[in-house]
């Protein structure tokens, strides 16, 4: 089953790796944005099956984006997986307090990234 995943990350190279891992290895469709505002727009317009969301971004950080996604009836049902390099216990506590589908820590293995996402979201692939 073809899935559509929205990648929100300000790092061009990270987006390129994720996109390659999901499209070339998993055969999924991906959308990508480098800013939080554009990510909110794309999520509402394109209604992806899942969102991979970076935390540290210049305009809106991942926490603010997630809060706005949850406030919007059009996007609040889209599962969100945080893709982050934040590893401190304090950061993990903040993630756990959110109603996110899961967390994937950088660096990640692109060869298993699609499977990790599917496992977190309980997708049959």
């Amino acid at each position: 089953m073809t899935k559509c995943v929205l990648i929100v990350d300000d790092e061009d190279d990270i987006r390129a790796i994720v996109q390659a891992a999901l499209e070339d290895l998993m055969g999924w469709q991906t959308l990508e944005t480098a800013t939080g505002l554009e990510g909110l727009y794309r999520a509402e317009c394109d209604r992806p099956d899942a969102i991979l969301l970076d935390i540290s971004m210049p305009d809106l950080d991942g926490f603010e984006i997630f809060a706005q996604l949850q406030q919007n009836p059009q996007t609040q049902t889209i599962p969100v997986i945080v893709l982050t390099s934040k590893v401190l216990a304090r950061d993990r506590a903040r993630f756990e307090a959110l109603a996110i589908a899961g967390t994937i820590t950088k660096p990640f293995n692109p060869l298993t990234l699609g499977h990790d996402i599917a496992a977190l979201l309980q997708w049959d692939i």
């Binding site: 300000d10 790092e11 061009d12 190279d13 990270i14 390129a16 790796i17 994720v18 390659a20 891992a21 070339d24 290895l25 540290s56 971004m57 210049p58 390099s85 934040k86 590893v87 401190l88 304090r90 950061d91 950088k106 660096p107 990640f108 293995n109 692109p110 060869l111």
Partner: protein, 1220 residues
């Protein structure tokens, strides 16, 4: 507000007639209103007229522009037409006839021009002009330089040869060859202004057009049209600007080209003079004073003399005190013409027409004012007429005429109201007067009744002769006379006074004092009885005559007092019967017989003998005297009888019951006329007192025994004899004195007191002599030299005369206590010092949480004084959310469940600040194990928490910065390694690029982190050496030039030749970092400046321009904290790197020198930075004892400053620039 007005002024104000009160303010206000309106109208009119005048001046200036454009269009058009003919080969320049015809035709077509000329390179010349007359000018190349001039008819017919000259210049303006040379040099159509003669000013204007062969572009010749500028002046004069107005045209240098001034008009002078005056004509040298004034204004305001457009610029100036309106504009065209057009008109020219109107307005103003004042006078007169009547009626009313009433028929309603109020007041006055008269009559009747019915005798008599005018019934009854008998007669006539002297004295008192009080006197009634009375009289004015109102009280009956005296005597007798002391009168005759005349009842109580027994036989009583005491008693008695001296003797008696009693007999002897001696005395039973004395003696014995055995010294000092009547053994031991050495005295004790305490003891002894108790602690040196602390307490005792007779006291050796106290005090001081100066909070609280003590740090932390804290509990200063847990832990500790209590919690300071603290508390127990206090140790952990947070943030940033490139590298390589891109080289290349770029990023990051770590850890010290600053700057530029070229950014370097003691590579790295940043944030085509300067004087780095910089590092922080300027040791080297980039937001200026603090987090990707460059620069600069800072304006650019002290240079390498 009440103002205090002097009396004189108030009087004068009160005397101002009402007429003036009404009319004067009206006149003044009318004058003020009309004058204000007139002034505002006049001012408004002036502004409007001036504005319109300025608009007229500007329009005139614009009109000159239009006239000039029309006037100067003709030469340009002629040239263009001629050039078109040549270009179209419709005119052969070698065809002289056709050329002359064309020139004549042009002159005919455009009469405004002065002449038309053509000249070829070979020397051919043709010119047609109508100045000074219509003529043709010819010159041929083969005519040896001659120039021939022919008259020319209006029909174009050639006339006679008028003049032949050699050389063009000799023929004057139209044939000046310089116009030809300038036209050839310019190569295109243009204006050329030439003077009449060499060195003169331009008076002829040429529009010249060089003509070229269209085929080979060889010069065929120059076609020109010329104008005499005098015609411009005529043109300006044709524009009517009035006699005082001026139109002036000047060139850019201020030379007058044309003017409408009448005194320089060419028509008024000869041709030669016109040339001369115009040739010398500048604004400043003009004979026209208005033009000279204008020139002075333009010279002062140089900006006004250089207008940049045809839009008129306003000129305002004064000439001979008269305001002038003017405007100046530039007249320029595409062919190089650059003139100024100036228009000037006097402002009064526009204002003068309004003067007649102003006179009319003044007349109207006066008319209005007179009308207003006249109207006020009429109204005042009307009001005053009616008010005068009111005044007359008020005067009559005041004089008692209560029937006065006012008319209410005035046309003014307020006056009618006033009249009605006056009438009502008069009615009320009349009614009140009648009421008072009735009440007075009633009062008089009541008084008469009271007077007549009074039980006290009252009479009224005249003061002058004492004649009785009224007397009540009591008075007449007292004297036993009828009223008719007494009225009209005097007291003397009635013989009322028993004592004539008292009457005289009383009368004198009434005349002088007008009253007499409680005069005890005797009066006589009708029956002749004398009675004593207490008299009171007072003088009152009744009618118009002084009268005496008198009354008295009968005090005749004095028997009551005598009865009272007898009663008192009886009471005394009764007292003697019941008194515990025996009162007696004992009589002894010279013959030796004796008996008791009187014995009180107490004799039975004291001796057991009855009064009757004693009176019957005195021996019964005297026989009771104890046999051992009888002899002394009789001796004393005989002595008293012989000397009639007071008898006082104590002795024992033996009662019939066998009881021995002590008695004390005191009596006073009296020798009676019959020779007997009678003793009147008292016998007191002393048995009780004697028993007390015995007990006292026994007590004294016990006391002495006690005093001998106690450890405390005890003494009795006799003040009169100055010796110690008693000293117990402990006293000797305490003072270290041998009792065998003799009796001690006060001086010996004083000698042993320490000199430092001696004055205090002397003062205490002095107070003791005044009756105060002595209680002093002092040092005492024993005879053996031992220094002891003693405490002496002494109490003065008084004798019967109230004098201090002795002093009893104690001495205590308190040396051990003093030593213990000193040790305790030192311990307490140590504890107090620790408590007060502890760099952490300490508190002592009760088990209830109530504060008992708090040290200064604790108080400062919470913002409360210690006194305030004592009224609070620690729960009161605990953050509400932490109170329950904190209180539970505290109670567990106080209950002994835990030995100590440690907690991190939050306080709430008095100012509302939330303070995180670490508490270590321990309980303090009493001897029974009950908790007394809790000692708390409080640490402010704000810094620790802030450091923890900073550490977390740093780790988070580093983690992010490291993990991001590693993720990209690992991901790219994993994808490549998976083989998914086999056969897809473009994807392979993309992944490899990602891996390589992120590897570079990672390397840069690691290098920067290592560099920064080496610098901050101090493990690597920078090796400083003398460096030539220009070389450092050059090397920094070399290393960054490639980046600058790629970004199309220019680097401008301004070095200074100076030697700096520094680590060259580090300085180059710093400059390279700053330059790299500047280039990164500059737009293509921008410029970056690298400058170095030496500041050789003592500079305050907070001064401009450096005060704008945000200085990083400890020095800057100290400066901000102390708010004092930072003074840099001089000289120092200042590097500046300035760019025109996007600038830095103000809120980022303080943090950009910190690690990973970039203005925008995306900069690390887009600009290639690691976020550590400026932190490295800061470390390098600070290791050179320098400072780095930045000043920036958003959207304009940033300037980074590096200040390095030149004082570090070696002595042999001069610190100052080499040119110094």
């Amino acid at each position: 507000m009440l103002l205090s007005v002097p009396h004189q002024i108030r009087y004068r104000l009160a005397s101002i007639p009402l007429f003036w009160v009404i009319t004067f303010p009206l006149a003044v206000s009318a004058m003020g209103t009309l004058a204000g309106a007139g002034y505002l109208s006049h001012r408004h009119e002036r502004i409007i007229v001036t504005t319109l005048g300025q608009q007229l001046v500007d329009q005139t200036n614009h009109l000159v522009h239009q006239e000039l454009e029309d006037y100067l269009d003709a030469p340009l058009l002629i040239n263009q037409l001629t050039a078109d003919l040549i270009a179209q080969n419709r005119l052969n320049e070698g065809d002289s006839a056709a050329l002359e015809a064309l020139l004549a035709q042009r002159l005919q077509q455009f009469p405004s021009i002065t002449g038309v000329v053509f000249a070829s390179p070979a020397g051919q010349l043709r010119a047609v002009e109508h100045y000074p007359e219509r003529q043709l000018v010819r010159a041929e190349p083969d005519d040896r330089g001659r120039v021939r001039v022919y008259r020319l008819g209006l029909d174009g017919a050639l006339g006679a040869e008028r003049e032949v000259a050699v050389g063009w210049q000799s023929l004057g303006i139209g044939r000046d060859r310089r116009w030809y040379e300038q036209a050839v040099a310019s190569g295109t159509l243009g204006w050329h202004a030439l003077p009449w003669q060499d060195g003169g000013e331009p008076l002829t204007l040429y529009a010249s057009q060089p003509l070229y062969d269209p085929r080979d572009q060889t010069l065929l010749g120059v076609f020109g049209v010329y104008l005499r500028l005098e015609q411009l002046s005529a043109l300006l004069r044709s524009l009517d600007v009035g006699q005082d107005g001026r139109l002036i045209i000047t060139n850019a240098n201020g030379m007058i080209l044309a003017t409408s001034s009448p005194d320089v008009a060419p028509e008024r002078v000869s041709q030669g003079d016109t040339r001369r005056r115009l040739a010398a004509g500048t604004l400043m040298t003009s004979p026209d004073p208005i033009v000279r004034a204008l020139g002075e204004v333009l010279q002062r305001e140089s900006s006004l003399s250089m207008p940049q457009s045809a839009e008129a610029t306003v000129l305002r100036f004064h000439h001979q005190g008269e305001p002038q309106l003017g405007s100046i504009s530039a007249f320029q065209d595409a062919y190089g013409l650059d003139w100024r057009v100036i228009t000037v008109m006097p402002e009064d020219r526009f204002l003068n027409p309004s003067i007649p109107h102003q006179r009319q307005a003044l007349l109207l103003w006066l008319l209005g004012w007179v009308s207003a004042v006249g109207l006020g006078v009429v109204i005042a007169k009307l009001l005053l007429h009616r008010l005068g009547r009111y005044y007359q009626a008020s005067q009559a009313l005041a004089a008692g005429n209560l029937t006065q009433r006012l008319p209410t028929d005035s046309p003014i309603s307020e006056l009618n109201g006033l009249a009605l109020a006056f009438n009502q007041m008069a009615d009320q006055l009349q009614a009140s007067f009648q009421t008072i008269q009735t009440a007075l009559a009633d009062s008089e009747a009541k008084f008469t009744t009271v007077f007549r019915a009074s039980p006290n005798p009252i009479a009224i008599a005249t003061l002058a002769d004492g004649r009785i005018v009224e007397a009540n019934r009591s008075f007449t009854d007292f004297f036993g006379r009828s009223r008719e008998e007494m009225i009209g007669r005097t007291a003397v006539e009635l013989n009322l006074w028993a004592d004539a002297n008292q009457r005289q004295w009383c009368r004198q008192q009434l005349v002088q004092q007008r009253r007499v009080r409680n005069l005890e006197t005797r009066v006589r009634n009708a029956t002749g009885d004398i009675r004593t009375v207490l008299l009171a009289a007072e003088v009152q004015l009744l009618g118009e005559e002084d009268h005496v109102i008198l009354t008295f009280h009968d005090i005749t009956n004095r028997q009551q007092a005598e009865a009272h005296l007898r009663q008192t005597e009886q009471w005394l007798c009764q007292y003697s019967q019941v008194a515990p002391s025996m009162i007696y009168t004992f009589v002894e005759t010279p013959e030796g017989d004796y008996w008791f005349e009187y014995l009180s009842a107490a004799v039975e109580e004291i001796s057991g003998i009855t009064v009757e027994q004693g009176l019957r036989d005195a021996n019964v009583v005297r026989g009771l005297i104890h046999p051992e005491d009888r002899k002394h008693y009789l001796t004393a008695e005989a002595h008293s009888a012989a000397n009639l001296s007071a008898f006082s003797h104590q002795c024992r008696i033996l009662t019939p019951a066998g009881e021995v009693k002590w008695i004390h007999t005191r009596s006073q002897p009296e020798r009676r006329p019959n020779g007997v001696v009678a003793w009147h005395g008292v016998v007191v039973d002393l048995s009780t007192e004697k028993q007390v004395e015995a007990a006292l003696r026994e007590s004294e014995a016990r006391f002495r025994q006690l005093a001998e055995s106690v450890q405390e010294g005890f003494f009795v000092y006799e003040t009169a004899a100055d010796y110690y009547s008693y000293i117990n053994p402990a006293y000797w031991a305490i003072l270290g004195t041998d009792p065998k050495a003799g009796t001690d005295n006060l001086q010996k004790w004083l000698d042993g007191i320490h000199l430092d305490d001696r004055d205090r003891i002397d003062r205490a002894l002095e107070r003791e002599r005044q009756g105060e108790t002595f209680d002093q602690e002092y040092r005492y040196r024993t005879p053996a030299g031992e220094l002891r602390w003693l405490r002496s307490k002494a109490f003065p005792l008084y004798d019967g005369q109230g004098e201090i007779s002795r002093i009893v006291g104690t001495v205590e050796n308190i040396t051990d206590r003093k030593q213990a106290e000193a040790a305790l005090r030192q311990s307490e001081e140590r504890f107090r010092s620790i408590f007060n100066h502890a760099p952490y909070g300490m508190s002592l609280v009760l088990p209830t949480g109530q504060f008992v003590m708090a040290n200064p740090y604790y108080c400062s932390l919470l913002g409360y004084s210690e006194a305030e804290l004592r009224t609070l509990t620690f729960q009161d200063v605990t953050y509400p959310e932490d109170r329950n847990d904190d209180w539970a832990g505290f109670q567990r500790m106080m209950a002994g469940e835990i030995a100590t209590y440690q907690v991190e919690k939050r306080y709430l300071s008095k100012q509302g600040e939330v303070l995180p603290v670490l508490i270590n508390a321990a309980p303090v127990y009493d001897v029974d194990g009950h908790p007394l206090y809790s000692v708390g140790h409080v640490q402010d952990i704000r810094d620790r928490l802030a450091i923890d947070q900073m550490k977390d943030e740093f780790i988070s940033i580093v983690s992010h910065e490291l993990r991001t490139p590693i993720t990209a590298i690992q991901g790219a390589l994993a994808l490549l390694g998976s083989g998914v891109y086999e056969g897809r080289p473009e994807k392979v290349k993309t992944m490899l690029t990602i891996a390589i770029n992120n590897s570079d990023r990672l390397v840069r990051l690691v290098n920067d982190i290592l560099s920064l770590e080496r610098l901050t850890s101090g493990k690597v010290s920078l090796d400083k050496e003398p460096c030539h600053v220009p070389e450092l700057m050059e090397q920094a530029i070399d290393s960054i030039q490639t980046i600058a070229d790629r970004a199309a950014v220019q680097i401008v370097v301004q070095p200074v030749s100076v030697t700096l003691l520094a680590a060259p590579d580090a300085i180059i790295q710093t400059l390279t970092n700053l330059l790299s940043n500047a280039i990164k944030f500059s737009n293509a085509g921008g410029t970056v400046w690298l400058r170095a300067t030496v500041e050789a004087s003592t500079e305050d780095l907070n001064m401009q321009p450096l005060s704008d910089a945000n200085w990083a590092g400890s020095l800057a922080q100290r400066s901000a904290a102390t708010a004092s300027p930072v003074v840099w040791p001089h000289p120092y080297l200042l590097f500046t790197v300035e760019d025109q980039g996007r600038g830095i937001p103000a809120d980022k200026l303080d943090s950009i020198f910190e690690q990973f603090q970039q203005v925008d987090v995306s900069d690390s990707r887009q600009r290639g930075g690691t976020g550590l460059g400026l932190a490295i620069c800061k470390q390098i600069v600070e290791q050179h004892q320098g400072r780095i800072g930045v000043a920036s304006q958003l959207g304009v650019g940033s300037t980074f400053y590096i200040a390095l002290p030149l004082g570090l240079a070696q002595p042999d390498s001069p610190a100052l620039p080499e040119q110094f």
